[in-house]
């Protein structure tokens, strides 16, 4: 049934394990602190309508395509692009973009570990507690930040080291249901607080005039892209471990994309009702979680339990993303270097810790990385993936050969249109919008520096891809 490379490749043991690993990879910290306020501040219910439309037009077909690419080639990002595009440079772009994101994501998981520790020991409930002081004190202790960053890398390294089925799948089978239950129970409490309806109204009341604003659609597009992990190579890599008799469209496409949104909405029903009940500004970004919420839990009856549940959910959401997303560079490094999986994991985790040090130590560097990678690298990686899929390899070809192979749901020719036109056009629009917005909202030096970095990054990817391809050709 399978060729030589594919036969040696690890496969998922259970369908639920694959689905929850995909979901755990896509649901991250941004679902909890970012989605609710982006939705609320961009038209509430009207934003949600735009978001759901884009989810089905862009994320669902895109994720199906990515997973199909991975299973078709039976390889990580570089091997897949080498087979489907004829050269591995786009795979290098995807891998390095994802690795770059992880260098500043692991420090943030480190913060969550630190706050989870405080939630366990009940710091937020001590007399005279001030969350601003804890946050500022944390930011001013480099050793503590480095230790938390190291803890995040270590904790996520364990499932990766154990392998796909024994590590990622088993960990996800426990952690994803746990964070779903934790958030669900906390939402039940949040919705019964006095004044919580203001938060629900903020999230769902539609301001239809916002739908005529291109900025709202582009904000929804950006959130769809960042939240569902489209273009990060995650669906491609995790899909490469699917057996040939497994479905792709229903699980890797619809369940993953819409399931991720379900968790975002659930998080919105925790965060917004709580902050509205206590009159806190919901647009403060990550500080909403690290400064505002810790002040609110002590004001609730049985607050310790709600606090612990919330931070458990928050921690697990971060960890499941951390280890599943790192599978993208780990798989590539293992395949290109010829090292064992365990060696590849050790090298990659050491590298992500080392290169994550500037982001761990300096919050402004962390924001700069997010500015560059979130604005440009991610849409570029998605564009490269879709152009390869839709144009270089052929949308109809991959649909008939892989997407509909063993599918639980038939995917018709509409998919070819989404992959060839709609997603690339959306990514191009997003890139133009981000660039124009950066010139307006940031200094010219910062924006031009960011664009220069992107150009250098693409050049390095191209050269690295050529080197790898030549080495493979020589071996062949």
């Amino acid at each position: 049934m399978m060729g030589g490379v594919k036969a040696a490749r690890e496969e998922w043991v259970s369908r639920l394990g694959f689905l929850l690993t995909m979901l755990g990879a896509m649901v991250g910290l941004g679902n909890i602190w970012r989605f609710p306020y982006v939705a609320g501040s961009n038209g509430g219910g009207a934003f949600l309508v735009a978001y759901v439309i884009l989810l089905f037009v862009v994320a669902v077909p895109g994720l199906m395509g990515e997973a199909a690419m991975g299973r078709f080639a039976g390889a990580g990002a570089t091997g897949t692009f080498r087979r489907m595009a004829g050269f591995s440079a786009p795979g290098i772009v995807v891998t390095l973009a994802t690795f770059g994101i992880m260098t500043y994501y692991f420090p943030v998981i480190g913060w969550v570990i630190y706050y989870f520790g405080h939630a366990v020991v009940g710091t937020f409930f001590t007399v005279g507690f001030d969350s601003e002081v804890i946050w500022e004190s944390f930011k001013s202790q480099p050793n503590l930040k480095l230790a938390c960053h190291a803890a995040a890398v270590l904790v996520c390294g364990v499932p990766l080291y154990c392998g796909v089925s024994k590590g990622l799948e088993r960990a996800s089978l426990v952690m994803v249901p746990a964070f779903f239950v934790a958030l669900g129970v906390t939402a039940g409490r949040a919705l019964t607080l006095d004044g919580s309806s203001g938060g629900v109204a903020y999230l769902f009341t539609p301001d239809w005039t916002q739908l005529t604003e291109p900025g709202v659609w582009l904000a929804a597009m950006g959130q769809v892209l960042f939240s569902t992990g489209l273009g990060w190579g995650i669906a491609l890599t995790l899909g490469s471990y699917l057996s040939k008799s497994n479905d792709i469209p229903l699980g890797a496409g619809i369940f993953t994309a819409v399931g991720d949104t379900s968790i975002s909405l659930l998080a919105g029903l925790v965060v917004l009702p709580t902050v509205f009940a206590f009159g806190v500004d919901p647009t403060t970004g990550p500080e909403l979680i690290f400064v505002s919420l810790p002040q609110l839990f002590p004001k609730m009856p049985a607050g310790y339990i709600w606090c612990l549940l919330f931070f458990t959910g928050f921690l697990f959401a971060g960890l499941t993303s951390g280890f599943a997303v790192m599978e993208v560079p780990v798989a590539v490094f293992q395949e290109e270097s010829g090292l064992s999986r365990q060696q590849a994991v050790l090298w990659m985790m050491a590298a992500v810790w080392l290169l994550g040090l500037p982001s761990a130590l300096d919050l402004s560097f962390n924001e700069l990385m997010d500015f560059v990678f979130g604005n440009w690298m991610l849409p570029l990686a998605t564009l490269a993936t879709m152009l390869t899929l839709g144009w270089r390899f052929g949308a109809m070809k991959i649909r008939v050969l892989e997407v509909n192979y063993s599918a639980d749901l038939y995917i018709g020719p509409w998919w070819d249109v989404a992959v060839r036109y709609l997603i690339p056009l959306s990514m191009a629009s997003l890139l133009v919008w981000f660039t124009l917005d950066a010139f307006q909202s940031q200094s010219a030096f910062r924006t031009l520096g960011g664009l220069g970095f992107v150009a250098g990054f693409l050049l390095v990817s191209w050269l690295l891809g050529r080197t790898l391809d030549k080495r493979k050709d020589a071996k062949a």
């Binding site: 049934m1 369908r15 639920l16 689905l19 509430g44 219910g45 949600l48 309508v49 759901v52 309806s197 629900v200 109204a201 769902f204 009341t205 539609p206 040939k244 008799s245 497994n246 479905d247 229903l250 699980g251 619809i254 369940f255 819409v258 399931g259 949104t261 379900s262 909405l265 109809m396 070809k397 649909r399 008939v400 050969l401 509909n404 192979y405 063993s406 599918a407 639980d408 038939y410 018709g412 020719p413």
Partner: protein, 103 residues
């Protein structure tokens, strides 16, 4: 909360949570069904009737593509499987005279 807010809340949650639950339950059920057939008869037919038709169309349009050989092999495998298996052991719903139709 206005009436419109309530309508949006119910509509969005019904669509998003409903599709999530439906897709999860459906894929788990169908993959379980596949596993049963594979245990019983060794494999499944990998293409649904519509998907097989698309494969034939693509093959007719691209007979010399690098992947055409793979497509032909898959087409033959599916036809053979449909000929050799009882309708009860098929994963997809085929018309009762499926093998003849497909052939």
């Amino acid at each position: 909360m206005t009436v419109l807010s309530w309508i949006m809340l119910v509509a969005v949650l019904t669509v998003v949570w409903g599709v999530t639950a439906w897709s999860l339950l459906r894929t788990l059920k169908l993959e379980g069904h596949k596993a049963d057939i594979i245990r019983r008869v060794g494999n499944i037919e990998h293409y649904s009737p519509k998907a097989l038709q698309d494969l034939e169309v693509w093959l007719a349009q691209h007979p010399h593509a690098p992947e055409a050989e793979m497509a032909r092999r898959r087409l033959m495998e599916t036809r053979l499987r449909l000929e050799r298996t009882n309708p009860a052991d098929r994963f997809y719903r085929w018309p009762t005279d499926a093998p003849q139709n497909v052939l």
